[in-house]
């Protein structure tokens, strides 16, 4: 099957900054794919190159088998992009804007689908409102609606939940999940790592314009993260022996240890006691994407 997205050897330089330094990536149709990385890693440049907003210096990008430069019309028809910036056209209402956006993609009489999108994004009541009158969360959902007017098989969301409250965020993810279940390929960039962990089946991590990790979410968690034991002590202690090797983090009187199996917890607590530590509080934590992210970024 043709991959939803194929990126091969893409480089892009902005003056002295190497934004993309040879990116190779494939996303299969129907995937919920995460693209993670620190600020300046190249995520938005990669998305912009895919969407035709930036022109790579070398390499090729395809959406549903269509080259984004040579066959840009077909590629853009297959792609819906929710931009990172909260942009809107202050001249138009939500419905006008969606009708105009439909026309840009060659679609007339798109009202039924527009109504459906507005309903799912809880914007029906705001269809006639000018874009300026919407709250930040509503503007964000309107951006999602704009990206969906032409029913693209591939949807790219560039930090869609930045500045969106919890309730709206959950509603948004419910809708995006439904789109994914309906067969749309979703590519997500986010700084909320727990979102990526919950939603994405596969994740790529970018650093300094390169892919430094690419695997299923489950494999990444297994390889790079462990369970954690966080203990708060009455007094600071000096760790000795194997206990020191298990320490992940120390902040004042609070220590965080990593372990793979729960029967290690008793040994860790015993070790703390042996070192003279008096445990005032403790919390167990599951492996999470933050550990994976920090671990991979520090490795590279």
């Amino acid at each position: 099957m043709i991959p939803a997205i194929r990126i091969a050897g893409v480089t892009k330089r902005f003056r002295s900054l190497q934004a993309l330094a040879g990116v190779d990536l494939e996303v299969a149709q129907g995937e919920f794919f995460g693209l993670l990385g620190p600020n300046g890693a190249g995520k938005t440049t990669l998305i912009s190159s895919l969407a035709g907003l930036a022109r790579p210096d070398s390499g090729t990008l395809e959406v549903m088998g269509h080259d984004v430069v040579k066959d840009y019309r077909a590629a853009r028809l297959a792609l819906g992009v929710v931009p990172q910036e909260l942009v809107f056209d202050p001249f138009f209402s939500v419905r006008e804007m969606l009708k105009i956006q439909s026309g840009y993609f060659g679609i007339r009489n798109n009202d039924d689908w527009i109504d459906e999108i507005l309903h799912h994004l809880d914007l029906t009541g705001k269809a006639g409102a000018n874009m300026r009158m919407l709250s930040g969360g509503m503007k964000r959902r309107a951006l999602v609606a704009q990206a969906l007017v032409h029913r693209p098989p591939v949807i790219v969301l560039d930090e869609p939940t930045a500045g969106v409250d919890v309730e709206l965020r959950q509603g948004l993810w419910q809708f995006i999940r439904k789109l994914n279940q309906d067969g749309h390929t979703i590519v997500l960039t986010t700084h909320y790592l727990e979102e990526a962990e919950t939603l994405c089946g596969r994740i790529a991590m970018l650093k300094a314009g390169r892919v430094v990790a690419l695997d299923t979410t489950a494999n990444l968690l297994q390889r790079f993260a462990s369970h954690t034991l966080r203990v708060s002590l009455a007094e600071p202690i000096t760790l000795a022996g194997p206990l020191a090797g298990k320490l992940l983090r120390a902040e004042g009187n609070t220590l965080e240890f990593g372990f793979d199996a729960f029967d290690e917890v008793a040994d860790l607590l015993a070790g703390v006691r042996t070192c003279g530590g008096k445990v005032m509080d403790m919390v167990l934590g599951k492996p999470d994407m933050e550990q994976v992210f920090v671990g991979i970024m520090n490795q590279n």
Partner: protein
């Protein structure tokens, strides 16, 4: 084609929604010029035999309004979209750079024509006008509007802030328009300034347009149309090249 039509519709809807600013204000400005200059100079200046100064002034003001508003439409729309970031909504869809250019320029021509018709209609009760060669009136309106609409696309893409666009408008468009013979016939100028005027393409637009009313002009309308057409083709080629390269639009 649907993308082009929608972009054209959007651009027209955009200026129509702020019609007080984009259509009525320019008409009022031009009529004020007509009333004031006409009142002061009507009995002192007769640019062509048998043509009153107020009648002479009307085509100049109509064309000035056409030119300034064609430029304003494409340039302000583009810079606003760039600064607010909503230009991405036009860049993400499958719209070619030629469709992009055609939509912005045609919308500029339409607004310019609307403003020009407005000035003409308001002027009709104020003076006696003739329409000696309506074909030239239409031809110069379209060509002049397209020329300035194209220049507006260049300015809107090039400018990174409103200040730069204002400089383009106030230091280039405004002087070229004012010094193009809107308010006078270049035959009233010293020889050297007559010569200089021939390097101003705006002069040919206004002179040719005026021929359409009176059947009299400083230069043959064919020459004027030739000059304006060549200027437009050169400018269109430059603009299309900028758009094809994605200059300041696609990083």
């Amino acid at each position: 084609m649907e993308g082009f039509k929608t972009l054209l519709y959007k651009e027209c809807l955009r200026f129509w929604k702020v019609g007080f600013q984009t259509v009525l204000s320019p008409v009022l400005n031009a009529v004020l010029y007509l009333l004031i200059f006409g009142h002061v100079l009507e009995d002192h200046v007769q640019p062509y035999p048998g043509v009153s100064y107020t009648a002479f002034l009307v085509p100049g003001l109509v064309m000035m309004t056409v030119l300034q508003n064609a430029f304003a439409n494409s340039s302000s729309s583009l810079i606003q979209s760039k600064i607010t970031g909503n230009i991405v909504f036009v860049l993400l869809p499958p719209i070619s750079y030629r469709e992009f250019y055609a939509a912005y320029v045609l919308a500029a021509v339409l607004r310019a024509t609307l403003c020009g018709i407005g000035v003409l209609l308001v002027s009709l009760p104020l003076t006696e006008l003739h329409f000696a060669a309506p074909g030239w009136i239409i031809a110069f309106t379209l060509m002049g509007g397209a020329f300035l609409g194209s220049l507006g696309v260049i300015a809107g893409i090039w400018a990174d802030k409103f200040d730069q666009l204002a400089a383009f408008q106030n230091f280039l468009i405004m002087p070229l328009t004012m010094l193009s013979g809107v308010f006078y016939s270049i035959h009233s100028l010293p020889a050297v300034w007559q010569g200089v005027s021939h390097f101003n393409p705006f002069f040919f637009m206004i002179d040719g347009f005026r021929y359409g009313f009176f059947g009299v002009s400083d230069v043959s309308p064919w020459t004027s149309f030739g000059v304006v057409s060549v200027c437009f083709v050169v400018l269109a080629a430059i603009t299309l090249q900028m758009l094809a390269r994605g200059y300041k639009l696609r990083a």
